[in-house]
Amino acid sequence: MRFTFKGALAALVTSTILAGAAQAELTGDLRIFFNDQNPAPKEAMEGMVERFQAMHPDLNIELTLIDREANKTQIRNYLTANAPDVNGWYAGNRMRPYVNAGLFEDVSDLWDGPMGDDLASTRPALTLDGKQWGVPYSYYQWGIYYRQDIFDELGLSVPATWEEEKANCQVILDSGRKCYTIGTRFLWTAGGWFDYLNLRTHGYDFHMALTAGEVEWTDDRVRETFANWRELIDMGAFIDDHTAYTWQEAQPFLVNGDAAAYLMGNFLVAPLREAGLTDDQLGFYQFPEITPGIPMAEDAPTDTLHIPAQAQNKEAARAFLQYVASAENQTIVNDVLGQLPINRNATVADDKFIQAGFEMLSNAEGGIAQFFDRDTDAEMASAGMEGFQEFMVMPDNLDAILTRLERVRQRVIAD
């Protein structure tokens, strides 16, 4: 794979240099704040910058890598004072505070061009108030990662319906294991469970209406979602003491075979492989159908780049975003990241999980959600995920939780 890839890369660089020469020459500084310091994203971003630099030798590119978590709070400072020309962030409602405050540049002009067709699948996720505010470079699927060897040992097959899922789980529990590992210390992992249960119970449109604040949290349909969740909780399907673990600390349960599956994003695969699980032991399946006949919708969070409104060199920033969106770049970057390209002309890496995710998302008739904390208002996201965690520990508190969430929703929509 790597060898053929390098050949492709060399060909690419030549072609992009030729393409670059045709454009107006970019000069000045281009300051990029990228929001990930982990090895793979770092390599991907540095590669992107290097190739863009080769196209525009007179441009002085300065790349700053910021820790993923730190960026979530630092973005407020750097967008208002001494803004870079490009910064990393997320799609969906998480752009909202910055769009409302006029801190993100409207890049609809880029989307009006051919780029818009290539990235069509994520246009809704990047659109707020009818305009586009950034460009995606990668996304990844969510789903159930499971221990194939344990399933084989217990004679289980991949479930397609909720009944099968629960029946499988009972067999797993009877074998002395837990069905699902999860670490809810940082709350968002519980948001993944809620997203899928709600998407499967009531479908994409209801889920999006709920996360947009248009449906009451005390609605009976919301209770139905929680009732399905409760079935698993009452079975004892989740590992004990999950409130004490981070999502990383929950991995050993799957690796050691104490739990059989993990609902997570595709970024789970890399650490599990590092921990010694082979592709024969680890499998992936789509979250099963709950309410029959509802088109399958998926969570697929999109990572994006934006131009701050106060950027100094917007011309170079636009050119860079255009390059980021290109099929060549998205192929290379997502091969490094182990994620999925958004550009429909890009090539998907030859990897079991990436291929499975690509196929699943290409057939997601219901729609593609970002993730609970990217689809909802920030305040609602934090209150909601806290409520989900409480529900997982004390399901009897559901009424109090939903009343609390409804009060938050009322306040949020009142603004």
Partner: protein, 303 residues
């Protein structure tokens, strides 16, 4: 300068030097204190009357933030946890005292033991928090095997809303006891041996000796220990942030952490609400500060 009679001919500066000098020396301190402490206090009062996400326009909403606050179960949880911190953290004072009494003897290598006991205070609070988080971890931590030796069943200390605050306070007590110990050790050096001798001749020993002879002489050390412990309890923010992030479901928050969470954390965009919490926290602390100032003032007058 030379003749005291020609005062009127001296410049203003020379005439008022003595009175002006202290103010000049104080000026930089006062300026920065006003800019970084006094001014933000009033600014918090002002922001607490607005709805503001920290980025866009602020909107005046009167006392709405306070109404929301008094209606917010998370606020009462945080307040109640603050009380727990204040009360239980004071255990560091007797703890420190008894370790100090124990270590206040002339044995070979006592300096080494003293420094070992003082060690936890030298480590950063963040590190203490991390170490205790691992210690409590239900799958890899040492805590559960340890209580297992005494026949207790395993506990999920930091993941259980009923135990989490006590777990964090216990972690916080570890360095705080060391701090109080060092205060008392220096205090014990100042205890008058003649008084102890005299008390002994009068037949005092054990508890009466400690209570009536030693402790009164340790009053200054006790006062400082109370002050630093109360302050320590109120700035418990870092331990909570490292060990639980206020969780599970907000049950280990204190007011300072809740303020940070609603206004500055990943999902926090409610500056006005955060400022309202800060104002309440300030008013609570004001009681303590007033007591402290009153006490200082009384002591200055020599009772």
């Amino acid at each position: 300068m030379s003749a005291p009679s020609d005062t009127d001919q001296r410049s203003w500066w020379r005439r008022n030097q003595m009175r002006a000098a202290p103010w000049l020396f104080l000026a930089p301190g006062i300026a920065f204190f006003a800019l970084y402490v006094v001014f933000p206090i009033f600014q918090s009062f002002q922001i607490s009357l607005y709805r503001w996400d920290g980025l866009g326009e602020a909107r005046y909403i009167g006392l709405r933030n306070y109404e929301d606050l008094f209606d917010d179960p998370a606020f009462y949880t945080s307040l109640w946890n603050n009380v727990r911190w204040l009360v239980l953290y004071l255990l560091a004072i007797p703890g420190g005292l008894f370790i100090a009494l124990f270590l206040n003897q002339q044995v070979r290598g006592i300096r080494l033991y003293k420094s070992l006991f003082f060690f936890p205070f030298v480590i950063s609070q963040v590190v203490v928090g991390l170490v205790f988080a691992w210690f409590y971890n239900p799958s890899i931590g040492l805590f559960n095997p340890l209580i297992g030796l005494f026949g207790f069943s395993p506990m999920n200390v930091l993941g259980n809303p009923n135990t989490v605050t006590y777990g964090i306070i216990a972690a916080g007590l570890w360095p705080q006891v060391a701090y109080c110990m060092i205060l008392y050790l220096t205090g014990l050096n100042a205890v008058d041996p003649e008084q102890v001798e005299a008390a002994r001749l009068d037949g005092a020993k054990g508890w009466p000796m400690l209570w009536y002879v030693i402790l009164p002489q340790l009053r200054p050390a006790t006062f400082i220990a109370v002050v630093v412990t109360v302050i320590g309890a109120l700035r418990s923010f870092d331990m909570i942030s490292v060990m639980t992030n206020g969780g599970p479901f907000g049950s280990s928050r204190v007011l300072a952490y809740y303020m940070f969470e609603v206004s500055l954390s990943e999902y926090g965009f409610r500056m006005g609400y955060g400022a309202a919490i800060a104002v309440i926290l300030f008013l609570i602390m004001l009681v303590y500060i007033a007591f402290f100032l009153w006490r200082m003032w009384r002591e200055e007058r020599g009772y």
